[in-house]
């Protein structure tokens, strides 16, 4: 436990609402205990702003332990910071040097309009999910759980794909603001499981169609999404989605 004190300069994107134009604003944060988490540092700054009568910086956050996917913004050009496999809420101030300048920007994508400051609207992900990210099984109609045998490797691979927290870092870090890793992960989870086979073709086509309609960019296979993903989801899921999509185009009717 170091408990060192550091001071930072923050350049933060401030934007009143979706309709307004935004701009960068500069804040000095002094005497920060480096055991704080990054969001706690922002809490401290926000309390100071409120006391001064200035509107605090808005950002999405909830569980603060890296699982809900609510938080996320870009720090110095890196989604969720340059640390590997973490969300912003898991970032601690000890990773920074005294006197550093940090640039904080919201996820930038047409499909993720900024609502206020660092808070964006990611409902596009929900709409993609609604397009096909499920198995159509009514409550009460399920067979006994152990009547569906699933090889452990498939279950594990499906789990790896299913760990996506829907934070949007993949979109934010992609130079094309593409959502392929998010969609690929969901498509893969079901493509790998026997439960997902019935709707396999329909699912991939519907989800890709929705993804395109939301205005996400295309994949140029540079894997920045994988590098930024706090859960380390692999781009092999995108490849699997590509295969599924091709197969669906060939085999599916209509």
């Amino acid at each position: 436990m170091s408990g060192k004190r550091i001071s930072l300069t923050l350049k933060v994107w401030r934007q009143e609402s979706a309709k307004d134009a935004g701009k960068m604003a500069t804040y000095e944060v002094k005497d920060i205990n480096d055991e704080m988490s990054f969001l706690e540092m922002l809490d401290v700054l926000n309390e100071q702003l409120v006391t001064k009568g200035e509107r605090p910086i808005t950002f999405d956050h909830d569980c603060r332990e890296g699982i809900c996917g609510a938080c996320g913004f870009v720090i110095n050009g890196h989604a969720h910071s340059k640390e590997k496999e973490i969300t912003v809420c898991q970032l601690h101030m000890r990773k920074f040097q005294d006197g550093e300048t940090l640039v904080l920007e919201p996820w930038r994508a047409k499909a993720f309009p900024v609502l206020q400051d660092l808070m964006v609207d990611r409902s596009a992900f929900d709409r993609i999910q609604a397009a096909g990210g499920y198995t159509s099984v009514h409550t009460g109609s399920a067979v006994d759980a152990n009547s569906i045998l699933i090889p452990k490797v498939d279950a594990d691979a499906a789990f790896d794909a299913a760990t996506c927290i829907g934070c949007g870092a993949c979109v934010a870090s992609c130079k094309n603001a593409s959502a392929m890793l998010f969609v690929g992960a969901k498509v893969s989870q079901f493509a790998l499981l026997p439960q997902g086979q019935v709707e396999r073709e329909r699912r991939v086509k519907a989800m890709v169609e929705r993804m395109d309609a939301e205005g996400f960019g295309n994949c140029t296979n540079e894997y920045e999404c994988e590098a930024a993903c706090p859960k380390g989801i692999s781009v092999t899921n995108i490849a699997r989605m590509n295969r599924e999509f091709l197969k669906a185009a060939v085999t599916d009717q209509g």
Partner: protein
Amino acid sequence: MSNGTGKFLSSSLGKKFVMGLTGFLLVAFMIVHLLENLSLYVDVDHGSAFIAWVEKLHLLGPFIWVLEFGLALLFGVHVWMALKLTAENRAARPTPYVMKKTFGESTLASRNMFVTGVLILGGLILHLIHFRFSKGLHAPAPADLFARVREVLANPIWAGFYVVFGILVGIHVSHGFRSAFQSFGANHPRINCCVRRCSVALGVILALGFASFPIMALISWR
């Protein structure tokens, strides 16, 4: 075109697939083209091997028109898709980041596919004017073509241009080839390393190969 095919081609994934497929075929063409060029080295001064190769092509008769048309179509589709994809990608992020770092497998080549693509297209048009359309709509006779090659490459400016052209093609392919595998869904730990190496190797071979002729010309034909 059925509705399903249209939907496939207008989707993001479909476009990437077409991009990769046309790219692959264009790479295949370029390998053949490079082999043809290599025949220049057989008889640097008179280009007999080169002329013989071109003559064989001419034996195809009207079929060569079909091939040329197919090639033009490949290029056209590749370029058209690139324009659409790039436009979509730009539109997907209307407000740029103030500060953006690159990571993952992002390389100079991958980030600049559009730039190298546009430059290659420009270079290609000049290249066609130089050689394919030097005598109008009909392709020049094999011997005339060789003479034209000597004439153009004797000019240091054009020689330099073709060196750059070759390098750009190499850079473009070094990402494009690997990328196409992913677009086809071919991503597996067992092949990824090989694909990556092949892609770089292919880029280097094409760049060195194509750039070597103008250099040879500067040395031998001046």
